[in-house]
Point group: C2
Chain length 152, copies 2
DNA sequence: CGTCAATCGTTGATAATGTCAATGGTTAAG
DNA sequence: CTTAACCATTGACATTATCAACGATTGACG
């Protein structure tokens, strides 16, 4: 189970580079590698992290409109449309016009959607477990905590 | 100096969502917002983070070939070509064929390039300062440390 | 009540990025 | 001297990002 073209090969020489200090670079790199890894795993369900994220939110407690999805995921509303078209075509979610505001639509998961989410979630979990393997459990907690603080 | 369309508006309702637990999502969101903010600042120098990153590495101690740049930045070699075309056209860097292996080229900064880097760096610093404002100095250190551990 | 501005999802056009195969020049191994 | 591998580059193509416009709906205000 070797990573195809491991990006961290013989780069030790440059670890002292000033860029390595910049959080923006570190975040870009980790996010890039992380989602790439997750995408590889999710491929067996014909999903991408984008779809997974939307599905996850749809399966949550709170009901989200597409507008809220776009804000939460930092994606253009038009992209949400595309993602939902995919998920709806697969019968994983439904669009229900919000009775309290008939302009917006609430995204609701189907039974199959919840099932799909469960499987996808397991894959993502294993993926992040691998990605964060250089960290101790305590450090992973720390990382999540700090990221969450920054993200909102 | 207000952020155009602040993505963190009235999202408190969803902070309990399970997605918020997933590091992959948190990293994607922070990286997305972070680089967007940095790009806005760098725009006044007609730069993007991509260019900044390459320029930064070029200005570092170690000499990098394009191949090494592509690995370090997790970008396809062809994209490095495009970025270097931009930077070289601006007279910020030069491509020098590596005397020890005439296949590869070493990227070297010009005087103007170093000057440009200095300005860009200041902008990026201020951008990350804003992005990480919810964190204490100690926490920022922590975050960088953990990210670096994951990134390599 | 009726206007009018604002908002939502959607579509479509266009730019920016990502991905991948193929090429000429170069190198290392045998 | 041949062959396989590697590098930068190009070009084709897919994915994603960005933005303007539209019909439908809402809320505010006269």
């Amino acid at each position: 189970m070797t990573t195809p073209t491991d990006p961290s090969a013989g780069l030790e020489r440059f670890l002292g580079a000033q860029l390595t200090t910049e959080p923006i670079f570190l975040m870009a790199r980790t996010a890039s590698m992380g989602s790439a890894a997750a995408n590889r795993k999710l491929a067996q369900l014909e999903l991408k992290v984008r779809h997974y994220s939307v599905l996850a939110l749809a399966c949550g407690e709170e009901q989200l409109t597409q507008r809220e999805l776009s804000q939460f995921l930092v994606l253009d509303p038009s992209q949400i449309v595309a993602i939902l078209d995919d998920l709806e075509r697969r019968g994983a979610v439904e669009r229900r016009t919000d009775p309290r505001d008939r302009r917006s639509k609430i995204i609701a998961p189907t039974a199959a959607g919840r099932e799909l989410y469960a499987q996808a979630r397991a894959l993502v979990e294993s993926s992040t477990a691998e990605s964060l393997s250089p960290l101790s459990p305590a450090e992973r907690e720390q990382l999540s905590r700090l990221l969450k603080k920054v993200a909102f």
